[in-house]
């Protein structure tokens, strides 16, 4: 595909399959796919699916952290092979802040190793810290912050690099419901202001329904998309849309697919 095509997808995955080879006492595990995914530039795509369906594997393959058994991933027209491409930022589910660095040093981590000019680093770190509401904690260590704030540090550390594709792997999984809704607002703001393409892995249907333009519903293992649900939310939106009647319809549709798949994942036959 030539780079001149104006409507070239930002992210394009084709035939992604992940099979873990057999080990002692265990046969081969077909974890994922084959699965196709195309994201236009600036899209907000969420992935929901039962536990163990390969959501995180999918994210790691898209990020270039894991090589798929089969299939290809292209980011901005270039193949992703065994390395996270420039312009891709990843936020993980677990607390990934560096406990030995202050908030400001955590956020500056990526910029420092790119050899960015110190004044520029300070400017961008200041902005990212302010954007994530961490201004009063710039000199604090992660141990002094709450779980939600530490996750904001990790988002700021990614945001500061101005990624064009942001991959979020259940970043709010460990947070309470209220904090999650508010963090959702911040992700929406981040998405609007940076114009980045966002892919969010989540197990929370409401989170997916509230944040994304489109939600991909995955089947139980091996994970494949069984439905793509468009939300048709306006670009300017926030967590208050949970009160919209359409919101209930979307989560209901997501759950109608997921109920059976989740039962399958639990080893129960759908009733």
């Amino acid at each position: 595909m030539s780079g001149a095509a104006p409507a070239a997808p930002h992210v394009e995955a084709a035939g992604i399959t992940q099979i873990y080879p057999a080990r002692a006492g265990q046969g081969a595990i077909h974890a994922l796919g084959p699965l196709d995914l195309t994201l236009p530039r600036g899209a907000f795509f969420a992935v929901v699916g039962p536990s163990g369906c390969g959501k995180s594997t999918l994210l790691e393959i898209l990020a270039g952290l894991t090589r798929p058994t089969a299939g290809t991933v292209r980011f901005e027209g270039k193949a992703v092979v065994g390395e996270v491409p420039d312009g891709v930022g990843v936020v993980f589910q677990e607390d990934a802040s560096f406990p030995w660095l202050t908030v400001a040093d955590n956020v500056a981590f990526g910029l420092r190793r790119q050899g960015v000019d110190p004044a520029e680093i300070r400017r961008r770190v200041d902005y990212a810290i302010g954007f994530m509401g961490l201004r009063d904690f710039a000199q604090a260590f992660p141990a002094q912050l709450s779980g939600g704030m530490r996750q904001r540090v990790c988002i700021a550390r990614t945001l500061v690099l101005q990624p064009r594709l942001i991959l979020l792997d259940e970043p709010f999984g460990a947070l309470d419901q209220q904090t999650r809704l508010l963090m959702g607002d911040e992700v929406l703001r981040l998405w609007r202001e940076t114009g980045a393409t966002v892919l969010l892995i989540t197990h929370a249907l409401d989170e997916a329904a509230m944040l994304a333009d489109q939600v991909g519903v995955m089947s139980a293992r091996p994970g494949r998309f069984i439905d793509l649900v468009d939300t048709f939310w306006p670009r300017e939106r926030d967590s208050r849309i949970v009160a919209d009647p359409g919101f209930g319809a979307i989560t209901a549709r997501l759950w109608s697919h997921l109920r059976g798949e989740s039962l399958k994942a639990l080893g129960v036959t759908a009733a």
Binding site: V84, A96, F98
Partner: protein, 250 residues
């Protein structure tokens, strides 16, 4: 200081006072033990006279050398063994049972190997300390949260940068424990070795004083060793506390 800290201080000073009293009232005869206050006075006099300066320097030099070697070699081997899973599986039981070997019995062999000089002493201090450092290093590397390594890859760090910028600081508290153990073990190894195979050093001086019924010197030197080890540990402990406070207790 915390309440528990004050209480601890009270218990220790009370015990010392009691011992002093027992010695001075003759419950404990001077042939067995001299009063702690007399030990301290003897130690001050002894340091002032400079009679054992050479021995002190020799011992501290040997401990430093044994400890430094143990930390460097132990760390390197820890990293190496950690990287080779099969080798590790083979070696792990050996490392775990290492301290069951009373390797002082090898001192004749060490003398044959290194000669009658300080090397066998340093070797025993080193052998005593090195495995603690190996184990702590592997332990530290084991406990690096995998997600931090993924962050490194997401930032496109190469193996060397990942090691320096993520693995080393992430494992630092465990490495620190290794260093602390190495210091303690190096002291034990060197001083014990000086007792049996040396013509100098504090360990030798204590043994010499003991053999000559010179209780004042013997106890003064014992107190010296305690004071030095305690001072070193206090410094390391303070440093460690600062490290932990930052990280919220590891």
């Amino acid at each position: 200081m915390s309440r528990a800290g004050w209480l601890r201080l009270l218990v220790v000073s009370g015990a010392v006072l009691l011992l002093d009293l027992a010695c001075r009232t003759g419950i404990i005869t001077p042939l067995t033990m001299i009063p702690p206050s007399a030990m301290a006075a003897a130690l001050l006099a002894l340091i002032g006279a400079g009679r054992f300066t050479a021995d002190i320097v020799k011992t501290l030099g040997n401990v430093t050398l044994a400890c430094a070697l143990a930390v460097v070699v132990g760390f390197s081997f820890g990293v190496l063994i950690h990287a080779m899973r099969r080798v590790r599986r083979a070696l792990e039981p050996l490392l775990a049972s290492y301290y069951a070997v009373p390797f002082f019995v090898f001192y004749p062999l060490l003398i044959v190997l290194f000669g009658l000089n300080d090397l066998p002493i340093v070797a025993i201090g080193f052998l005593f300390a090195v495995v603690a450092m190996v184990i702590s290093t592997m332990n530290g590397l084991d406990r690096i949260p995998p997600v931090l390594l993924k962050v490194g890859r997401a930032h496109r760090l190469g193996p060397l940068r990942s090691a320096l910028l993520i693995k080393l600081p992430a494992a630092a508290p465990y490495l620190f424990t290794g260093v602390k153990l190495a210091v303690a073990y190096a002291f034990i190894g060197v001083i014990a070795a000086e007792f049996i195979l040396s013509g100098g050093g504090i360990g030798y001086a204590i043994a010499y004083a003991y053999n000559n019924f010179d209780n004042r010197t013997m106890y003064a030197l014992m107190l010296l060793i305690l004071a030095v080890v305690m001072a070193v540990n206090l410094v390391l402990h303070g440093w460690e506390q600062r490290l932990y406070r930052r990280r919220g207790g590891r």
